[in-house]
Symmetry: C2
Subunit: 372 residues, 2 copies
């Protein structure tokens, strides 16, 4: 029951700060990824819309990347852990949400940029803590901060990112953003509790799953959208609509994420398959499949019992993947995510029907179509 | 290199919330403790002053206890971890500092009370994270939150306390307190990094030790004092003086704490002896003793290598304790702490010489005389 790091193990295995040149993905990484995805799938219409979206937000996303790039955490063990994930790119979906919401109003101001960066920092902070709790070894195709710098540095690195995010929101000084962010972080923490309590339980309920998805994922999307709207000077009704969009988008995003953990291509997601289950997390696709094929329980329980980094037995995974398809769980999860994405677009009705609103619709559609 | 908790181990071993009646120490616990200590040592004069101090701040400390008591974290795994330490009493030294600083001005207002509670919450948040990082099993004479509820719940419980503290400071709305608290927390995190980097190093420098003491301990005292002053409407010079007092007090407090870890009575401190060293931390008394008796190195290295909860070999501890006395390290640490306490009192000169200032002088003296 103790952290297994001895005094020597806790020291960094790589102390050098990664080279700047290789540190970031090309700026609008999400868009190029989503663009190629759409082409892959022959979704020409979505592909065209994504090109339009890229055109619309390229400058904003470049500004976000530059701002993230300019955050140089202190050059020590904790600072390196804090900066580790920032250096590995990521979808930047939360900053994109802030940017688009602000553009539904008066535009992507310097204050909105601070909020966009803050959203990404809070997200990264939770990833650093999650990776410690889940004992995760890889993320974004690389070793996690806890592997590179130790669990302790990863915990304090997460704390540092959280404080940095709050400082930026404070500096942005957009009314109605700081208190909601504190509430949002609290929601995220409480969702972690629900997840911990259900850890390793094959009988995790749908209700518990959605409580976690709403709290851990959708809450921050909600904040990102509403805060972007506030930075853009939008009225209360529009900000509420944006928050509601964020909620639907967040849940849809999470369900797709969980599907990809089971049926995705490792090379694309940057994570091993079945990692959620090995971390003790029963996700929506598994809950659905198991409701429909109770015989699946023993296979799930067995995979749960295999500790990472050992991979789960291939035969069991094949059995589960077959059941996910045969029971219709995969199709139903995709359909569910699709419905939530449509709902997200629907609730934007109070907003002026301009380019920003159309871009948000594209983001919602692309989010549920993605394969990474 | 993974958190050793399996899915089942991570569940709470005690899920019931502790009974309220037994949950708290009697309200001005610090004062009764310090009072008995002064009597023990025959420090009659200090004893009398402590009685006067108790009289002066009893109402304030009762209000702090009541406020801490009224914080009911959510009744789930993370909430229980967050509340665990609050339920085990503690010295409440940081809230006392806020209260006295506010009384040097216009008094202990509801806003000052919020700040006092926030100081205690930040302190407890860092303890929950530290206990995970240090794999500590006991604190305040009881099992740590991570032992009771698991490492994961202890990490998220610390996060919860931090957010709760920030919400309270926000609510207090005393100008010049929120941004400095964010800076203070950042300082605390960076000091953790210095501590991690020096972990297990018998050759830790004095400079590194004081960097950690200033950042991990003194920074929060500084904030508590300055913020109490601001809540009391004091001018900038007085608040700066209070912050400086807090800095000296914090360093003195830490040095005494480190001495007690080596030479204290376990029954009184609630912690096993030599726990700092076993956690890989070279403290000031050990650094001094080793500078003067280089032969001590091998004994220190050997104690470092014994993992808790196994106690370090008694013969080695006796060797180290003898050296601490023979080299004059104990006496010099006490003298050092005493000088910093005097310095703390000295820098209060810009404040009106009233009851609050005298009480702060008493706190400084009692802090370095304490034996628990």
């Amino acid at each position: 029951m103790i952290l297994p790091e001895t005094a020597t193990e806790i020291r960094p295995t790589r102390s050098a700060r990664p080279e700047k040149a290789t540190r970031r993905l090309g700026s609008p990484a999400l868009l190029s990824r989503l663009g190629s995805l759409a082409a892959d799938r022959g979704l020409r219409r979505l592909g065209d819309r994504l090109l339009g979206l890229a055109d619309f937000v390229t400058t904003d996303l470049k500004a976000v990347e530059a701002a993230l790039e300019s955050i140089l955490p202190p050059d020590n063990l904790v600072g390196n852990a804090a900066g580790h994930l920032l250096g590995l790119g990521g979808k930047r979906l939360r900053p994109l949400c802030v940017a688009l919401a602000s553009r539904a109003g008066s535009g992507f101001s310097p204050a909105a940029l601070e909020l966009a960066v803050a959203a990404e920092l809070v997200h990264n902070a939770t990833l650093l803590h999650d990776d410690v709790v889940d004992a995760s070894d890889t993320r974004r195709g690389q070793g996690t901060a806890r592997v590179e710098y130790g669990n302790a540095a990863s915990i304090f690195g997460g704390d540092w990112l959280l404080i940095e995010a709050l400082k930026r929101v404070r500096r942005a000084a957009v009314p109605g953003t700081l208190d909601p962010l504190l509430d949002t972080i609290e929601e995220m923490i409480l969702a972690e509790s629900v997840q911990l309590e259900n850890r390793g339980r094959v009988d995790t309920s749908r209700a518990a799953y959605f409580e976690v998805a709403e709290g851990k994922t959708a809450a921050l999307f909600r904040w990102a959208l509403a805060s972007g709207g506030r930075a853009g000077g939008l009225g209360e009704a529009s900000c509420q609509a944006l928050a509601e969009y964020g909620r639907h988008l967040g849940v849809a995003f999470q369900v797709v994420d969980d599907l990809l953990d089971l049926t995705g291509e490792t090379g694309k997601t940057g994570k091993a398959l079945f990692s959620d289950l090995q971390e003790g997390k029963m996700t929506y696709p598994l809950i659905l499949a198991q409701e429909r094929d109770p015989g699946l329980r023993s296979a799930l329980a067995e995979i749960l019992s295999v500790e990472t980094p050992q991979p789960p037995p291939a035969a069991l995974c094949e059995r589960v993947i077959a059941a996910l398809h045969d029971t219709g769980a995969v199709a139903d999860c995709r359909a569910f995510a699709h419905r939530r994405a449509l709902k997200a677009v629907e609730v934007l009705a109070p907003l002026p029907n301009g380019r920003a609103r159309q871009a948000l619709a594209t983001v919602a559609e692309a989010t549920v179509q993605r394969n990474r």
